[in-house]
């Protein structure tokens, strides 16, 4: 009995393997995606990307999306890029400058579409096989709104020196603050222990750059600032309403949709170099009145009317 079952089992396993392989190979296009960090901003961007790409290929071709969410450091970004190259995807999509630069560093021939880059023109990410979109947030507006709420002599800037776009945001804010005679304090978050810097410094307000590392520990950062009675502004949206006083951000969904549009063009034969990159400049301004009350800050009505959303 056992001897007669064995060949049958072998045949069954072979059939199952063939079926599984057939299902896997049914995906005719494969897109590899790398987020610079597993933060809600890139998550929202990716959600919009996937929805748009599925819409574009619905009923035409199956597209598989392989997502990598490495811990935000150079080795993990590089490993994620190498995995996707080894997987021989048809296209790589990256969110944020560090993930983009990690892919470019590998010098692969796989086309690359980036999104979520701060000022792509300044990010040195051009190439024949590369296109994408990014955003620009006017940093001066954050200082302007802070100054209408309280006296700002010193501004703390939370950034991460391992993230290229976060560094550029730090530099830009530092220059704008200097023009307005505002001192800046550097708070470089490279690991969780870096949060201790917040305990030692006492700026009048804090600006949080679009750093994936900083946003991994955003709740801890805001908790420390709240205890020290220091209000914060951010250029990533605070969807969880975790305690940022004001956010001035570019909605990530638009970038996800544009990245999908660019990806679709490339998968259908367009050359990335022929697709112009784009910088989104539209922003949303959110004031959190719950946090304002906690800090004893009164928002003047003239300021509130500038907001696109007010958290009450």
């Amino acid at each position: 009995m056992q001897t007669s079952i064995r060949p049958l089992l072998s045949i069954l396993l072979a059939v199952l393997f063939v079926l599984a392989a057939a299902t896997a190979s049914h995906a005719e296009k494969r897109i590899g995606v790398i987020m610079t960090g597993d933060v809600p901003y890139y998550g929202a961007m990716h959600g919009a990307f996937v929805a748009e790409i599925k819409k574009k290929f619905a009923g035409v071709e199956e597209v598989e999306v392989v997502l990598q969410k490495p811990f935000p450091n150079a080795i993990s970004w590089s490993n994620a890029a190498r995995k996707l190259i080894a997987f021989d995807v048809d296209l790589i999509v990256t969110y944020g400058a560090p993930a983009t630069q990690a892919v470019l560093h590998e010098k692969s021939r796989i086309p690359l579409v980036y999104a979520g880059l701060y000022e792509p023109d300044q990010a040195k990410v051009s190439g024949q096989n590369v296109t994408g979109c990014g955003f620009k947030v006017p940093m001066s507006s954050i200082i302007r709104y802070f100054k209408r709420l309280k006296l700002i002599a010193t501004l703390g800037i939370v950034f991460s020196s391992v993230e290229e776009d976060s560094v550029r945001q730090y530099e830009e804010m530092r220059e704008i603050a200097a023009l307005q005679n505002i001192k800046t304090e550097k708070i470089d978050i490279r690991s969780q222990t870096g949060l201790d810097q917040l305990l030692e410094k006492n700026p009048d307000a804090v600006f949080i750059t679009g750093s994936a590392l900083s946003h991994l520990w955003i709740d801890d950062i805001l908790s420390i600032l709240r205890k020290k009675h220091i209000p914060a502004a951010d250029i990533f949206p605070d969807e969880q309403e975790s305690g940022v006083l004001m956010t001035l951000f570019q909605p990530p969904q638009a970038q996800g949709q544009m990245a999908a549009d660019m990806a679709a063009q490339i998968l259908l034969g367009a050359k990335p170099g022929n697709i112009p990159s784009h910088t989104f400049r539209d922003t949303e301004l959110v004031f959190n009145l719950k946090e304002a009350r906690r800090f004893g800050i009164d928002f003047p009505i003239q300021l509130l009317i500038e907001a696109t959303k007010v958290v009450k």
Binding site: L179, L248, D282, E284, E306
Partner: protein, 304 residues
């Protein structure tokens, strides 16, 4: 005989009294009721910071009350677009009006322009600016196509009619087709902040607000570029109903024109944030009327 003269005298006294009552008294009553009002009700158009605005105008109203012997009361006239309607419903005697509403009020309500202030920078006029962020890459009308625009209000010369006329002169006749989107911010300052923050690519607002904000915030000069400027027109003009007594009108005009020459008047002017008042004429508003005509043609073309 003497009794005759006595009765004649009595009759004449009665006749004179009757004649006085019939021909002199009623007109005198009409004059006191219609031309010497107990109060002047003056409307003001709301600005960005309405609380500061009310404070500025309140001191002026108190000063005028003291100088004229007639109580000068102020009322805010809702939003820009309803000024003409509100002027009638509130039964106002006059109003401080921005250039377009003044033009419309002069035409439709027969108001007479009296005076307009010279601001602390020495400007007695304002002009419309069309501006963009310097890093937007927009340099001319062609660069504006497909972008988003923030206007102030449909009833502002600087914040709507001027840009509309400008676009039409440069071949843009269908706003809905040529621009990505447009919206109204409700105030000049909000239009400026809208472009600074990136909520719109292009903005329109009046020069006085733009320059004042730029004086207090260096980033505005550094980050915004003015693409076009309208002709200069009086920024705010005090206009009065034509039925107001001519003596009261003359006295009001004289008080306002002379107030920079007295210490008390200078103090009030300082609170009002003006150097002095200067005389206005209907000719000041001809440029606005021309621009409005051009803008109306544009509105007719793009249906907005």
């Amino acid at each position: 005989m003497s009794r005759f003269w006595e009765s004649a005298h009595t009759f004449l006294k009665g006749l004179v009294f009757c004649l006085f009552v019939c021909f002199v008294w009623p007109p005198a009553l009409t004059v006191s009721a219609g031309e010497l009002p107990q109060q002047l009700l003056i409307g003001i158009e709301p600005e960005h910071n309405i609380f500061d605005q009310v404070e500025r105008y309140r001191s002026l109203a108190r000063y005028l009350t003291d100088q004229l012997g007639v109580e000068v009361k102020l009322t805010i006239m809702s939003r820009y677009g309803e000024v003409i309607k509100r002027f009638k419903t509130l039964k106002l005697d006059g109003a401080f009006l921005t250039s377009y509403t003044a033009t419309m009020a002069i035409k439709e309500l027969m108001l007479e322009p009296l005076v307009h202030p010279v601001n602390l920078s020495g400007e007695m006029t304002s002009q419309g600016y069309i501006f963009v962020r310097k890093d937007s890459g927009i340099g001319d009308i062609d660069g504006m196509r497909g972008k988003s625009i923030v206007f102030v209000d449909p009833a502002t010369m600087e914040g709507y009619l001027f840009p509309l006329a400008y676009f039409r002169q440069h071949g843009i006749t269908d706003m809905n087709r040529e621009f990505n989107r447009f919206y109204f911010s409700g105030s000049h300052a909000s239009a400026i902040f809208g472009v600074l923050d990136g909520r719109a690519d292009i903005g329109a607002a009046k020069s006085t607000v733009f320059n004042k904000l730029a004086d207090g915030d260096s980033s505005i000069q550094q980050e915004l570029r003015i693409i076009a400027q309208s002709p200069k027109v009086p920024e705010i003009t005090l206009c009065l109903r034509s039925e107001i007594d001519s003596d009261l009108r003359a006295k009001l005009t004289a008080v306002l024109l002379q107030m920079d020459k007295t210490p008390q008047g200078q103090k009030v002017l300082e609170q009002f944030q003006a150097l002095r008042f200067v005389k206005s004429t209907t000719a000041d508003f001809e440029k606005v009327a021309e621009m409005a005509q051009e803008a109306r043609a544009a509105i007719g073309e793009h249906g907005k």
